[in-house]
């Protein structure tokens, strides 16, 4: 099996995830799309690891999973805080950093 296919697939998944991050307004869905991108990266990492025969790629992918989990936790915490303070769940409304 050509490893290139896996890499191409990961590229597509990454692009789809990026399009989703830019297009959706619900922060939950944005986070989901972020997960897509991270998983695409994981796929690429594991594919390369298979290609070179080293297992460092797999360990890297594991750590990425940990990171993704942490990021999800914090992100969801923020969303919950938004809900608690009765702010609209819409990332376009969170524009107080405007200059």
């Amino acid at each position: 099996m050509d490893i290139t296919w896996f890499l191409v697939l990961s590229a597509f998944l990454f692009a789809i995830g990026a399009a989703g991050v830019l297009t959706r307004r619900n922060p939950l869905v944005v986070l989901l799309c972020l997960e897509l991108m991270l998983n695409a990266g994981n796929l690429a990492l594991v594919a390369f690891s298979r290609m070179h025969g080293g297992q460092a790629g797999q360990v890297f992918a594991l750590i990425v999973m940990v990171i993704a989990a942490c990021e999800v936790v914090i992100g969801l915490g923020i969303i919950v805080a938004m809900y608690r303070n009765r702010l609209p769940i819409d990332i376009d409304e969170m524009s107080e950093l405007r200059g």
């Binding site: 991050v21 830019l22 990332i91 376009d92 969170m94 524009s95 950093l97 405007r98 200059g99």
Partner: protein, 670 residues
């Protein structure tokens, strides 16, 4: 102590005097203390100058040129400039004249300026001036000369606008300073040209190199000498840079006596004498000097005949007499020129002192039209003033007689077209004698005016304080003259100063009587030994012919004045009415001020206004400054537009950046 140590002392005394007075160390400086400190400092300088003289005369003739350097300003490449003084006959001569006459004027001012709220400031400035003048004279290189030159200009400005709340005084001070700056520029550029060509800035170096580097009438040398002349004419008030001197009479009378008669204005003459090797190599420039000197001499004499302000008459007389000195050193009659400088210092200072006394008696009025008949009320002033006038008119056997006519004799001896200059000089002498005694007869003869009669009763006239030129009233607080008026008959310092000067004015001629004595000539010889015109001195007999001619002219002029002002009073008024245009031309000083106003002042003022309105306001402020800030403002608002606060916009930019980055790597690796 060596000669140069005395030289440093000569400089040190007035400097210490200035500082002491300025800081008022001696506990408060009440009353006339500042005046006596200042006078003492100058007397110390005078004694040091005598010490230097004695030391100098001890040296053999060839080595009467002592240079001492305190430290080195600049020593880069080929240029070496030291803080060094030069003690040689010429500088010692000038030191003696400057310090001697300054001392007497200081003593005079102790009494004259009494009561003025700025008394202490006056003497601080006066000492500073003497220090600067001595620095100028003792300098051994062009740099220190220029330093002294600039200081003297500054001191002159400070003293002319001494009564600084008078607008006429401050304007006169600015005028003097601006014209002096023109001279400064000329001098600095000349020094640069000399440095460029000869590689040296000290006199010894430049003069030694000049012979090798420059040919006869070399273009650069002529240019440098002409620039030196520009500097000299600005400082010595020669045509066309003379307009500041009559206005400088706004300063107190001792200032007029010291700076604008005896010392500062002679700096130009000293400069030409000092740089004589250069002028002898470039006779074209010397000829220019001679012509301008003569022209000035005639011009000023004609104006002095018509002007009615007492101090301004004496000012024009100064301009005229310095024309004689410039003529003298330009025809290479150095001894005669310096001799006239000395005698002129004596009698001109004396005349100003006398004028100060008279003006005090008049309660501050300077207009001769309102004076008359002070002979009985002020005998001492009358005697002193007449002594000075006799010397000015070159009456036979006074000091002025020998000095002025010696210059004219030299000029005649040069022959060729110099004879024209000599004739003009004699014509000027006639006018000089006339206006000198015009002053005497108008002020002291005739019916006593009201102020004279009051003085005969025993008290000085008093008028409400006002500006003598414009008549506007003033108060007597600091910045305006005091209400007190001091006349020589009542103040012994004034008599103590005027007396010796009167004696010198009458008798100092004995040192340089042709065929009998030539003290000055012999004394100055070591400095001028390298002059090529050494042997063109006129013989004694031709000198006596010239002197005879001059004496006759002088007597004729005095007689004419007597006739016009004593015997047949009113004849001059008739002349004035017969020739109103001529009179107006003379009284308005040949319209030089108006000419300069139109040629220089008005265009520059217009250009300045234009610059402010258009260039500064519209271009610089609006376009450049506004443009720069506008660009920044627009740029920053553009940058601010990116900060929308939308997360998705930021993400978009991020992804865009990533895409571009990958693109770059793709392209780079292909």
């Amino acid at each position: 102590m060596s000669g140069t140590s005395y030289g440093w002392l000569v400089l040190a005394f007035p400097l210490v005097g200035t500082l002491a007075i300025a800081f008022g160390w001696l506990g408060g400086l009440r009353g006339r203390t500042a005046g006596w400190i200042a006078s003492g400092a100058i007397f110390g300088a005078f004694l040091s100058a005598i010490g230097a003289l004695i030391q100098l005369q001890d040296q053999p003739e060839e080595s009467r040129s002592l240079v001492d350097s305190a430290w080195t300003y600049v020593a880069t490449g080929d240029v070496k400039v030291d803080l060094a003084i030069l003690v040689d006959p010429l500088s010692v001569f000038m030191c003696l004249v400057v310090s001697g006459v300054s001392f007497l004027i200081h003593v005079y001012s102790v009494a004259y300026m009494g009561g003025d709220r700025g008394y202490t400031r006056f003497f601080a400035y006066l000492n500073f001036f003497v220090f600067s003048m001595l620095l100028l004279v003792l300098a051994s290189n062009f740099v220190l000369l220029i330093v002294g030159w600039a200081f003297v200009g500054a001191a002159s400005y400070l003293l002319i606008s001494f009564w600084y709340r008078r607008e006429t005084a401050t304007r006169a001070g600015i005028k003097a300073f601006v014209i002096n700056v023109i001279g400064d520029v000329g001098l600095v550029v000349a020094a640069f040209l000399l440095l460029d060509q000869t590689g040296a800035l000290d006199y010894a170096g430049v003069f030694a190199q000049a012979d090798h580097v420059f040919g006869h009438n070399d273009g650069t040398l002529v240019a440098a000498c002409l620039l030196i002349l520009v500097g000299a004419f600005a400082k010595s008030a020669q045509l066309p840079l003379h307009t500041w001197l009559p206005d400088a009479m706004e300063g107190p009378t001792p200032v007029s006596a010291l700076i604008h008669a005896a010392t500062m204005v002679t700096a130009g003459v000293y400069l030409i004498a000092r740089t004589h090797p250069l002028f002898e190599l470039a006779p074209a420039a010397a000829d220019v000097g001679a012509i301008i000197g003569t022209a000035t001499l005639v011009f000023a004499a004609t104006v002095a005949v018509a002007v009615t302000d007492l101090k301004r008459t004496i000012a024009y007389s100064t301009i005229s007499q310095i024309g004689y000195m410039v003529l003298g050193v330009s025809v290479f009659a150095y001894g005669a020129g310096m001799f006239h400088l000395m005698t002129h210092a004596f009698f001109k200072a004396l005349l100003f002192m006398g004028a100060g006394s008279v003006i005090s008696a008049m309660g501050g009025i300077q207009d001769m039209d309102r004076m008359g008949g002070f002979r009985k009320a002020m005998p001492f002033t009358f005697a002193a003033f007449t002594a000075g006038a006799l010397a000015l008119a070159a009456f036979p056997f006074t000091s002025g007689f020998f000095s002025k006519d010696e210059i004219l004799a030299f000029t005649l001896e040069r022959g060729g077209w110099y004879v024209v200059l000599a004739i003009a000089g004699y014509a000027g002498a006639a006018l000089t004698a006339f206006y000198a005694f015009r002053m005497v007869f108008r002020v002291f003869y005739g019916n006593p005016v009201e102020e004279a009669r009051e003085l005969e009763q025993g008290h000085i006239a008093h008028h409400p304080p006002s500006n003598p030129a414009t008549g506007e009233p003033e108060d007597t607080d600091v910045g305006f003259p005091a209400e007190e008026h001091h006349i020589a008959e009542r103040e012994w310092p004034m008599r103590a100063a005027m007396g010796p000067l009167a004696v010198l004015a009458l008798l100092a001629g004995v040192v340089q009587v042709p065929g009998v004595s030539d003290v000055i000539e012999k004394f100055l010889e070591p400095t001028f030994a390298d002059s090529h015109f050494h042997d063109t001195a006129p013989s004694d007999s031709s000198e006596w012919v010239g002197l005879l001619l001059g004496g006759l002219i002088s007597v004729a002029g005095i007689a004419a004045a007597y006739h016009a002002y004593v015997r047949r009073r009113g004849i001059t008024l008739q002349l004035r009415d017969r020739f109103p245009r001529v009179h107006a031309f003379l009284v308005n000083k040949w319209y030089f001020d108006e000419l300069f106003e139109a040629l220089f002042v008005r265009p520059v003022a217009t250009a300045g206004g234009f610059g402010r309105a258009v260039i500064e306001t519209r271009f610089v402020q609006g376009f450049i400054v506004g443009g720069a800030t506008g660009v920044v403002r627009v740029g920053s608002s553009l940058a601010r537009a990116v900060q929308t606060g939308y997360l998705r916009a930021y993400a978009l930019l991020l992804l865009l950046g990533v895409a571009l980055l990958i693109l770059y790597f793709l392209l780079a690796s292909s």
